[in-house]
């Protein structure tokens, strides 16, 4: 077992959370109550324990309906509680020790002992700590997010997108009926029993919110009264019945998503569109009212501040109600353009039938600087998902990206990325005889590594590196799978399980054999730095024989100080992103080795799929800080390349060349790879038809995705100097958007390093 600090920050948190509205002592009491109930149920089944604990939290943790909210439901989170993901609360029965310490510091000293008692209890019962204790390995496998390790692992259940179509068609009453029927066949099934308790929690939460809305009527304006009346009536309706109106559907969907603790929302256009269309058609709702509701939903999602999640997906293949869905899509497009929030991550799937109008709306929103929608190409992704996840195309049509891009099948699969691997750090360890040059710690996992002078050909060298990679890839599949085992031994994720195929049918929680497709993902980092490094080694050491491997390694250990010419030679070697066969084929070779290696291991261990994602939040920069200098010319501590884009500034041949490079990876072996591109407004907005054909051609050539930042040259530089002038400047980081001035200086520099495509003029 590795030593680890349980107070380490475990997720990316750029957007500032809204503080809990309850007084500190009340928060303390809730956590104590939760802890007590958990303790009392230690001997009970995980399902019963979870249901009992959830009853402590809900509806207690609901905030008051806020002025302006047109849909009810905002939740607070405490340092102790229950959840699925790190960004809202924690995972399973959790204690976020770092936040509990901060909480303690705010309390009068008299109360400190109460917190300490809980701290001690949760040291032995926090799910993630239990996983870490069993799984982490000194030097080899660290906890999220300890960047001194070449690979990190966690237990979480990210990216679940529920079967809302079923929820909306059955309603809570219909769900109850379905579970009860199953129970008659299997009366002692604790999962199904606990499922019914969850529906009771839903009902009490709806009533709680209804009472809050009613209480607010007294002091409300005439206009606000109308809104509150709609909220009250919808809440009353959805307690039992299936929704009939757009508002009822929104309210049911939203309240359930909150209680399930999920932070990605799925294909809203397809499951909400029919309600919207019907209301509009029958004159119950005007388009402006519908706009207000959707905008309110956007605000509620933004206010959850998950930084890298909040996916809403529209468009694409496999929608049941394309015509009605498009009505929602157009409305959402307008909201995304006008809100300019960093969340929700508004995601557009396109295919060959996507209308010009939708393309134009998307480009308008991007051109206005919204960074949304981020665009996925179904013509490539659907067959790729089918192959990668081993599904038929019909099932694959229901793929949805969550978080920074990872795919799941809506309502049918898990895809949580519980492993991240730094390919470049592993190369620097390999080149240094198994010892990380950054801290002198051996990280070879017992894999035999020959001295550099013994490698007589590039192939031999590359093969040696691959053997070390093999060790890590083996470990990655085991650690991912084990995260499911550990989570399953502690929790059932009841609310989520109820809306995932085929949990009710099988009477099992999702990780207990309930979920139809048990999948997972592995985030790879430094992909391009590594392949560019291999190109440089091949050319300078083995082809041109200009340096020996030892000379190169000496230069790397010196961070190129005193080796400027050698570094210059490294930088001058071909780089990925310029449509050069040399660099691009190396990148592709490494990609396929890693991606197929991960996929094969996932299948072997018993998962439906375990696929790499080249997604990248801001970890490319943070991990770069702890990664030694590399043969691609990158200095020690410098950011690594974002996602599968080139290293910032390495692509010098314009956007067509970069996009051609990007399109070369075969999408079948990954579960999401994101591609950044940055334009000035004049380039993007004055040449709209050209930009459109640029993107479409890239897609036609096999490009799977594109995300766009439109920002004027000099603006980001100025925002570094004068952050106060740019409170609303949004940029696409990699798999998420952020307010630029909220990012750390290192991440700002990484963004600045990326090529900005501007108009170039020639006049002879």
């Amino acid at each position: 077992m590795a030593t680890f600090n349980i107070e380490t920050a475990q997720n990316v948190e750029i957007s500032k959370k809204i503080p809990c509205e309850k007084p500190l002592l009340e928060q303390l009491e809730i956590m104590e109550r939760y802890t007590a109930v958990h303790r009392e149920h230690l001997g009970a089944s995980k399902e019963k324990r979870e249901a009992a604990c959830l009853q402590v939290l809900y509806p207690t943790l609901f905030r008051h309906i806020q002025e302006g909210d047109l849909i009810a439901g905002r939740l607070d989170f405490l340092p102790i509680g229950f959840g699925c993901v790190t960004s809202v609360g924690g995972v399973g029965h959790y204690c976020v020790f770092r936040k509990l310490k901060m909480f303690r510091a705010q309390l009068p000293e008299l109360e400190h002992a109460r917190v300490d008692a809980m701290y001690d209890y949760w040291r032995d019962h926090d799910l993630k700590t239990a996983y870490n204790k069993e799984t982490l390995q000194e030097g080899i496998l660290g906890m999220f997010i300890d960047t001194t390790y070449p690979m990190i692992a966690t237990a979480r259940l990210s990216g679940m997108m529920l079967d809302y179509p079923t929820l909306l068609s059955l309603g809570i009453g219909g769900m109850r009926k379905r579970i009860t029927e199953k129970l008659t066949q299997d009366p002692n099934n604790e999962f199904l029993q606990a499922g019914l308790s969850c529906l009771d929690i839903f009902v009490s939460s709806a009533r709680h919110l209804r009472a809050d809305a009613a209480a607010q009527m007294a002091n409300a304006s005439a206009e606000r009264i109308k809104d509150l009346e709609v909220i009250i009536s919808s809440l009353e309706h959805i307690e039992e019945q299936a929704p009939e109106t757009f508002h009822q559907a929104l309210q049911l969907f939203w309240l359930y998503a909150l209680l399930a603790g999920v932070i990605n929302y799925g294909r809203l256009d397809d499951f909400l569109g029919p309600f919207l269309a019907k209301d509009l058609e029958e004159g119950r709702l005007s388009e402006e009212e519908a706009y207000r509701y959707v905008r309110s939903l956007w605000t509620l999602i933004e206010n959850r501040r998950t930084t890298v999640n909040g996916r809403i997906i529209v468009g694409g293949r496999g929608r049941k109600y394309p015509k009605e869905a498009d009505m929602f899509l157009h409305l959402a497009m307008r909201v995304a353009k006008e809100c300019r929030y960093v969340e929700p991550q508004f995601t557009l799937r396109v295919d060959k039938d996507t209308s010009e109008q939708i393309w134009d709306e998307a480009l308008d929103a991007l051109g206005a600087g919204a960074t949304y929608p981020t665009i996925y190409n179904d013509e490539v992704e659907v067959p790729a998902v089918a192959y990668g996840m081993r599904l038929d195309e019909k099932a694959a049509e229901q793929y949805v990206p969550f978080g920074c891009t990872e795919f799941v099948i809506q309502g049918q699969s898990s895809g949580t990325p519980n492993i991240c691997i730094n390919l470049l750090k592993i190369l620097t360890i390999f080149m240094n005889g198994g010892i990380d040059p950054e801290d002198g710690v051996r990280k070879d996992g017992g894999v035999e590594i020959k001295p550099l002078s013994k490698y007589k050909s590039f192939e031999e060298f590359y093969d040696g590196y691959k053997r070390l990679l093999d060790f890590y890839l083996d470990l990655s599949a085991k650690a991912q799978y084990h995260s499911y085992e550990v989570m399953n031994s502690h929790v059932a994720f009841l609310f989520t399980s109820l809306l995932m195929d085929d949990c009710i049918e099988r009477g099992k929680a999702l990780l207990d054999g309930g979920i139809r497709y048990l999948g997972g993902t592995n985030e790879t980092y430094g992909n391009i730095n590594t392949s560019d490094s291999l190109v440089a080694i091949k050319e300078l050491v083995f082809d041109k024989k200009k340096y020996t491997l030892d000379q190169l390694q000496q230069a790397l250990l010196a961070n190129f100080e005193g080796y400027e010419e050698l570094r210059h030679d490294c930088l001058a070697c071909d780089k990925y992103g310029n449509d050069l066969d040399s660099a691009d084929s190396m990148a592709n070779d490494l990609y396929e080795f890693v991606a197929k290696g991960v996929r094969d291991r996932g299948i072997a261990i018993g998962m439906q799929y375990f696929l790499i994602v080249i997604s990248n939040n801001q970890l490319n920069t943070e991990w770069g800080l702890n990664t030694a200098a590399s043969p691609d010319g990158r200095l020690r501590g410098m950011y690594m390349n974002p996602a599968n884009n080139p290293q910032g500034g390495a692509d010098k041949s314009g956007p067509t060349a970069m996009l051609n490079s990007l399109a070369k990876f075969d999408a079948r072996y990954h579960a999401g790879s994101v591609q950044n591109i940055k334009f000035t407004p004049s380039m993007f907005n004055n040449h709209r038809e050209i930009i459109k054909s640029l993107f479409k051609t890239y897609f036609e050539r096999g490009g799977c995705h594109i995300m766009v930042t439109v920002v004027d040259s000099g603006v980001l530089e100025d925002a570094v100097e004068h952050p106060e002038k740019y409170p609303n400047l949004i940029v696409r980081v990699a798999g998420f958007s952020a307010v630029f001035v909220d990012l750390s200086p290192e991440i700002q520099q990484e963004l600045l390093s990326r090529v900005l495509y501007d108009e170039r003029k020639s006049l002879c």
Binding site: E564, E565, R567, H568, A572, D579, S653, G654, P655, T656, A657, N660, H687, E689, I690, S693, L694, K696, T697, E700, R701, Y757, E759, R760, K761, S762, L763, C764
Partner: protein
């Protein structure tokens, strides 16, 4: 396809190949800038392309004075000056590019390197799909493309063999014979007329208006030419001159004219070549040319501002 072309190994002097060019004809294009120009327009934004021989630009702000270029040059074309910077004897330079590679700071850029037709086409072909979808293609520019006429025609043939839309940017100062050889292989001529007065043109740029206009007449009737006027304050930007150029266009049966607003984006290059830049004015905004465009439209021309 290319291997069938007997001229695939023909070499040209090239200033640069720029992909995703948006101002040298319709759609997404790759522009091949060839080295060498018969004119010497003082506003030229690619002054390094004017001589036929290779030219190195030296960016003093990036130079650390390390001397690596001096020691690398096998022709003795670079000496280390007393000011601590390299000095270039441009008559000795053969354009091998060694100094550019030796420089650790990217302070040297060579224009006029040698590329074969197949090397050029290898790059051009990579964006074929983008050309097709955007109505783009390949543009040959310069310098002046007709300074390397044989290479140009070979490039055009190779492009046509690939089914590409082809455009040429030219100042028209060439022989009618080469122009007529290029014409059937070229879909669009972007044809510069810089002045309507032959003496002024001759004096400032070295251009021969009579020849330029005669050549344009050969193209005009084919409907393939667009006249481009670089609008240079103090040189041609007055009503009479622009009107005169419009008349010439009409005489040559050309219907479309582009007015290109003056910009100073090439100014830095003059310092890098140790030359004086003749202009101090700011880059123009498109709107400033609107009255001239209106004048042209009133004369029956189709006028666009910007390329």
């Amino acid at each position: 396809m290319m291997s069938a072309n007997p001229y695939a190994n023909l070499s040209l002097r090239v200033m640069s190949v720029q992909r995703f060019s948006l101002h040298d004809g319709p759609g997404i294009r790759t522009t091949v800038f060839l080295q060498g120009c018969p004119l010497h327009c003082p506003w030229c934004s690619n002054p390094e392309s004017q001589p036929m021989h290779p030219v190195q630009r030296h960016k003093r702000d990036k130079c650390s004075g390390c001397g690596k270029c001096t020691s690398r040059c096998s022709k003795g074309a670079i000496t280390h000056g007393e000011d601590g910077f390299p000095h270039f004897d441009r008559t000795r330079c053969i354009g091998c590019g060694e100094c550019e590679q030796a420089c650790p700071n990217e302070a040297i850029a060579i224009s006029g390197k040698t590329m074969t037709v197949s090397e050029i086409m290898e790059i051009v072909k990579r964006d074929k799909d983008y050309y097709r979808n955007s109505g783009g293609g390949v543009t040959f520019s310069g310098g002046e493309v007709f300074m390397q006429p044989e290479g140009l025609v070979t490039l055009l043939e190779a492009s046509k063999a690939e089914g590409l839309h082809t455009a040429i940017e030219t100042c028209g100062q060439t022989s009618a014979e080469w122009l007529q050889r290029a014409e059937p292989l070229t879909d669009l001529f972007l044809y510069d007329i810089k002045h309507s007065n032959s003496e002024v043109l001759q004096h400032t740029t070295g251009g021969n208006l009579d020849r330029i206009v005669k050549n344009l007449k050969l193209l005009g009737s084919k409907g393939k030419a667009i006249v481009r006027i670089p609008c240079i304050p103090g040189f041609n930007l007055d009503e009479a001159t622009i009107r005169g150029i419009f008349h010439l266009a009409l005489q040559c049966e050309v219907e479309q004219v582009h007015l290109l607003p003056y910009h100073n984006l090439g100014a830095d290059k003059y310092a890098q070549l140790a030359k004086e830049y003749a202009y101090t004015c700011e880059s123009m905004r498109n709107e400033e040319l609107e009255p001239y465009a209106e004048m042209g439209r009133a004369m029956g021309l189709s006028v666009q501002i910007g390329g």
